[in-house]
């Protein structure tokens, strides 16, 4: 397939995933602040930090409160990662590969965009929860339509790889920011708030119910284990990397455990790190350090995907590879 087309499919999936994550973060946070009125205002700055755009936010708005955080994260056109900007970018990418994706995918994405566009023009948001649910549903519908209307060939794998890398990045950021805010709040330990706060973290990753089934009681370490290392929960970092690897192997045609280029090599290394990681080691190493290094590696991986597959001038250069003997 054309490199340009692969690039667009990869990014349009990343953008949709990003929009969905931001919607879920806000929704979970909103819900939580209604339960804890006193500390409500404290909870919006960490949310901004989760997205990684706190510097831009400080420049545009200064101190965070509910109104400006939502404006910034949802509608602000000057924020390239606002939901509005993401969906617009996803649609622009889809427009440039409209002949490659299915009509159903395009129509879903276009309707999604028109919905956000209409909401952006409205004065007030009466039912924020419904709005965010609509966004998440639109994203889920897009994924479902993609799965059931598009060939599961190279292009589809590029899209899924993009989605998985984006999701791994967002879950690890969420954990990184929230864990350290929640931990020191010893005052809450054993109080109902404790459960509410940690529950909100899980809800931010749509993980609350599945965590309950897997581990039962709320326990910070087990939450880390679940969001980071679980191989079955679809938003856990480990699961994302496993799935990205499958797509990568399908794209390059490399057998499992081998690599055809630098991007595949670094994804493989990251995967084996997660395959053999244990919670004990992670906490010994330092959770923050571990998450930080994971994010750096995911970023580097994204850059490698960009040069190996999408940059036309590099296509002729032979890259180092290794296959099983």
């Amino acid at each position: 397939m054309l490199s340009r087309v692969a690039n667009s499919i990869y990014w349009l999936n990343r953008y949709i995933e990003r929009a969905e994550n931001v919607a879920r973060f806000i929704d979970a946070n909103y819900d939580m602040t209604l339960d804890i009125p006193d500390s409500a205002s404290d909870q919006w700055q960490p949310l901004i930090n989760t997205t990684g755009d706190h510097e831009l936010f400080a420049k545009l708005y200064g101190e965070a409160n509910r109104e400006n955080a939502i404006e910034f994260l949802v509608f602000d056109r000057d924020n390239p990662n606002s939901i509005h900007s993401c969906v617009r970018a996803a649609r622009e990418n889809a427009r440039s590969v409209r002949e490659y994706i299915s009509s159903e995918m395009w129509e879903q994405l276009n309707t999604f965009y028109l919905m956000i566009n209409t909401a952006a023009k409205e004065e007030s948001m009466d039912l924020p929860h419904q709005f965010f649910v609509d966004i998440m549903t639109a994203s889920h519908a897009f994924i479902g339509i993609t799965d059931s209307t598009m060939n599961h060939g190279e292009g589809w794998h590029f899209g899924r790889m993009g989605r998985m890398l984006e999701r791994a990045d967002k879950t690890s950021r969420l954990l990184d920011v929230k864990y350290f805010i929640l931990l020191p709040s010893v005052d809450y330990i054993g109080s109902p708030y404790d459960n509410i706060l940690w529950g909100a973290l899980l809800r931010s990753a749509s993980a609350f119910e599945m965590y309950r089934k897997r581990h039962g009681r709320i326990d910070p370490k087990k939450i880390v284990d679940f969001l980071l290392l679980d191989a079955n929960f679809p938003r856990a970092v480990h699961y994302c990397i496993v799935t990205a690897m499958i797509s990568m192997n399908n794209i390059t045609g490399s057998p499992r455990g081998t690599f055809a280029n630098k991007a595949e090599q670094s994804l493989g290394r990251l995967l084996s790190e997660f395959n053999f990681a244990s919670l004990e080691d992670i906490f010994e190493h330092g959770l923050h350090e571990y998450l930080d290094s994971t994010q750096t590696r995911i970023n580097a991986l994204g850059a490698a995907v960009q040069t190996e597959f999408f940059s036309p001038q590099d296509i002729d250069s032979t890259t180092e590879s290794r296959t099983l003997e």
Partner: protein
Amino acid sequence: MRFDGYDTEGFYDEVFDSQGKPRPGADLLIQRVNALPESELQRRQKAAERALLNLGITFNVYGSEAQTEKIFPFDIVPRIVQAKEWEIIERGLKQRIKALNSFIDDVYNDQNILKDGIVPAELVLSADGFRKPCIGLKPPGGIWCHITGTDLVRGGDGEYYVLEDNLRCPSGVSYVLENRMLMKRTFPMVFDACSVQPVTDYPSRLLDMLQGLANPGVRIPNVVVWTPGIYNSAYFEHSFLSQQMGVPLVEGGDLVVKDGEVMMRTTKGLERVDVIYRRIDDDFMDPTTFRADSMLGVPGLMKAYSAGKVALANAPGTGVADDKAVYAYVPEIIRYYLDEEPIINNVPTYACWREDDRQYVLENLDKLVVKAVNESGGYGMLVGPHSTVAEQEEFAKRIKANPRTYIAQPTLALSRVPVLVDDHFEGRHVDLRPYILYGAKSTYVLPGGLTRVALKKGSLVVNSSQGGGSKDTWVLNAEGGPSPESALQKEEGL
């Protein structure tokens, strides 16, 4: 919603005759529309517009902050063409395209028609669409213009005339297909009752034709559609056609010439391209042959083309034959190459470079339509009866300064169709652009084509850039059997 108050106001109407009776074939449509409950038609019109928006069948409107996108206005009442009429149009178009293709091939090779003085050589060689680098080219099968969209109009006398030949990159066929899809959704019952010739197989026929252009040695030819990019106003059509044909849509940056062959950059390296359906002007295709400042082009493309390594549809240089000055000679061109009389006539045309014609034009500017030969899309035009004295004086000056660049035609009383305006019908002027695929083995004329409507009251300019819209065009089957498309539709349960 009824046609009761509808007035043809003395124009030739496509649906009603001069007595206000439905024309043959249109009565069913009128019956069904008349039977619709109050405001049902408006509701369906709105639903169709919403569908267009959701499908993203829009074009960009530039210069506004909000990046507004507009749908190409669509009127819900179809235009009906009788089988008998269509049969003549089809033969006429096939004849015309055959002659024009011979003309292009001749102009770039032996130039017999110029030597025989049928068309003035200086006129052809100075035409805006004439491309010197094309001299001596021998495209596969001797075919230059594979895809054509010819603009037809019907005058007050009820006859069809050719208004313009579009031999370069005619656009609009995607709207024909989308309009049909919408009409089948909106009016399944009416569609079922009328027996309409199908248009949906256009993409397959286009693909067949394109694949036929590849070198005989190639087993499965790689066909691509080449677009200038997403900001081109016809981008929707480019992507639609490549999607419907299942071939890659490429931009200039995706293509590169390597070892004399045209390749596309894929995730697995370079891959050869055999046939390019290019939707980009000659000038921008290859900076080493045409415009050196083209950012969209592929250096070396023309060399690969001349060497027969890649096929282009249409061939470069076809614009020489749709020059408005050359247009005036098409009847002679048909007689010269085919020894036949034209089946569809030209609109009578005054060529301002001829002394007598010019004199007549200058004396009758208030009655004529004057067109600059190098402009299209309704620009550079004077519509005499709708112009001011100052505008006429301005054009008189321009004509005297550059007679070569102007032609004039009588102001035609273009035929009209009923259009839904708020809660009633009003007559609006239309033209018709059928599409012709000229292949080595056969020529295909899409039954129907794009009916463009001048939505502004009284306006004669149908171009979308000037407030035009479109309608679905129903060419009826001769025998009145059931429509094959509606049968298909039932099967699909749509």
